[in-house]
């Protein structure tokens, strides 16, 4: 896959989202702005239920926004006059609980995108799917169903399913949340390896600080609901990064910096004690 430093720049400008369940307005995102450069790994960190996912849903086109605009490479995704973005394969989402179709084998899952978009013939799509799965270390399980493989394998296959469409942006919503620490570290290395190869822009939501610093170029700390940008920390640790990076002094200093900002918000969120929004 070609290097794509020149595409996948996201601009989120003054985005506000107000939900209105049972007639009471709930502000999930309030005048939130951030710029994400093409080919950047951008980590969004904030307390649970702060509206991070709302932002991701707006970019992906699952939800409308109330105010503001979101642009991808200068083109309007949603904004005035067009509250909801169209869903499209240039913005691929990897879901929190995983959304591989359980009724399709891994190869069928991965080949699905190119087939329905008619960008490849069926046989071509399957060949590419098998190649890409093999590249991700899943060559032996291409004919298995998602229910038959480990959660780590399934999540990796889901990222392959996204990448086969050659997306501009990869949107990940706490994809490793339910995993144990050991599996997680393997997933991180494999994601970094994928990123080094493709340089796809990554928009990654998490509340795991180590994960954020280890993977990201930028760490955007957001406030508790309504979601606003609180602080941006640039991670200057050179790539490729390995798991040893996490024990370096540089890493520790960044952890402290981010932790301070996040902790404050976590306390506010806890005191508000509100239920998480979808």
């Amino acid at each position: 896959m070609a290097t794509q430093k020149n595409r996948g720049a996201l601009s989120i400008r003054n985005v506000t989202k107000i939900y209105d369940p049972e007639g009471v307005n709930v502000m999930a995102v309030d005048d939130c702005s951030m710029e994400i450069a093409a080919g950047e790994v951008c980590m969004i960190v904030g307390p649970s239920g702060c509206g991070k996912t709302t932002l991701l849903n707006a970019i992906a086109g699952f939800h409308s926004i109330t105010h503001g605009e979101i642009l991808l490479d200068g083109e309007l995704l949603c904004g005035p006059g067009k509250p909801k973005a169209d869903q499209g394969a240039e913005r691929m989402v990897v879901f929190q609980h995983g959304a591989l179709f359980p009724w399709k084998t891994l190869a069928e899952n991965v080949a699905y995108g190119p087939i329905v978009q008619r960008t490849m013939r069926k046989s071509e799509a399957f060949e590419k799917a098998r190649d890409m799965l093999a590249e991700a270390g899943l060559g032996d399980v291409v004919t298995k169903y998602p229910g038959e493989v480990s959660s780590g394998m399934a999540r990796r296959a889901e990222i392959v399913r996204a990448l086969i469409n050659d997306p501009k942006v990869l949107l990940l919503d706490e994809p490793y949340r339910a995993m144990d620490a050991l599996t997680k570290s393997i997933m991180h290395e494999s994601l970094l390896e994928t990123y080094d190869r493709t340089k796809v822009t990554i928009f990654f939501i998490t509340h795991d600080l180590e994960e954020a610093i280890f993977l990201g170029d930028k760490v955007h700390v957001v406030t508790t609901r309504p979601c606003q940008l609180k602080k941006t920390v640039s991670v200057e640790i050179p790539r490729p990064r390995t798991f040893e990076t996490q024990s370096s002094e540089e890493f520790r200093v960044l952890m402290e910096e981010v932790n301070e900002a996040v902790h404050e918000e976590a306390i506010k969120a806890f005191q508000a004690g509100e239920r998480e929004l979808a």
Binding site: F62, Q87, G88, A99, L100, P102, Y112, V116, Y145, N165
Partner: protein
């Protein structure tokens, strides 16, 4: 070194048995688990209780019912006293007529109910139109439809099939709709992201996602089809297992009544197994995932 080889020789067989080996494996497994023996013990206990009530102790009132030995003698007799046995053509004609009616009713109900349920689950607007009607008609007992069915349709055949179809239609539709409801929203979103058209989503998410519920519904619905069919045959009919039972009762012959009941149970069970097998065949992904959980 020697210890190493010892470990290697006792390693379990890791290949999955196939073909004849699989059959042997299944038979061996069924003989080494208590399940098989318990099944036979259960059947025996049941027959024994029946025998005790009717023929052994001759409990008051039960002594007028045919016991298992009387039924078995009649059932396997070449010239049965009461007209029905394994060697009479009429026995098979009753089975055939009922099976044909159930097949038609179940087929029509599935053909209408599954698409109807899928659309009701998928389209909010369509559900708003149709769901209240379905919910009002569904609780009406099938027997309450009998007079209307007889008025609406000529002959014996059509009303009976109509009643069985109706009962099974409600079950299938409702389960299919719930099946679509049960699909995690993430799959719809993922499909949207991947560039699916509405038709792609219908084919690749709605139908397979609802399939486990659909087949649960179909298993119930074939049971319901049998039971409403028999009820209908008892009220209006010329042949069929339900008719056989009520006809025997009217003519005060008790053995054919019991033969009809046992036959119904057996045939109903077979059809239900057929539906389940079809479902498992269509849902390999589901079966394999369950198998890994040890179920």
């Amino acid at each position: 070194m020697s210890q190493n080889t010892a470990i290697l020789t006792t390693r379990p067989n890791l290949t999955r048995p196939r073909g004849l080996a699989k059959v042997f494996y299944d038979v061996k497994k069924s003989l080494t688990t208590p399940t098989t023996y318990l099944v036979f013990a259960g059947i025996f206990l049941w027959l024994f209780t029946w025998w005790l009530l009717c023929e052994g102790l001759k409990v008051d009132r039960f002594d007028k019912l045919p016991g298992p030995i009387t039924v078995a003698k009649e059932f396997f007799s070449v010239q049965p006293f009461q007209g029905i046995s394994l060697f009479t053509d009429i026995y098979y004609e009753h089975i055939w007529v009922s099976c044909r009616r159930v097949a038609i009713a179940f087929g029509v109900a599935t053909g209408i109910g599954v698409p109807l349920g899928l659309f009701m689950g998928w389209s909010k607007r369509f559900r708003d139109y149709s769901f209240p009607i379905l919910e009002t008609l569904r609780p009406i007992p099938i027997l309450a439809w009998v007079p209307l069915a007889i008025l609406m349709f000529p002959g014996f055949e059509a009303p009976v099939i109509f009643l069985a179809t109706l009962a099974s239609l409600f079950v299938t539709t409702l389960n299919t709709m719930l099946g679509v409801d049960s699909i995690d929203d993430a799959y719809f979103r993922a499909a949207g992201c991947l560039g699916s058209s509405n038709w792609d989503i219908f084919k690749n998410v709605v139908v397979p996602g609802a399939l486990p519920f659909i087949f649960t519904g179909l298993q119930i619905s074939i049971g319901v089809a049998w039971f409403s069919l028999v009820a209908a045959e008892m009220v209006s009919g010329d042949l069929g297992l339900g008719y056989l039972i009520v006809d025997a009762y009217v003519n005060s012959v008790t053995v054919p009544m019991v033969i009809g009941m046992i036959t119904l149970g057996f045939v109903g069970w077979v059809t239900s197994v057929m539906v389940r097998m079809l479902g498992n065949w269509l849902m390999q992904w589901h079966v394999r995932a369950l198998a890994l959980q040890g179920r």
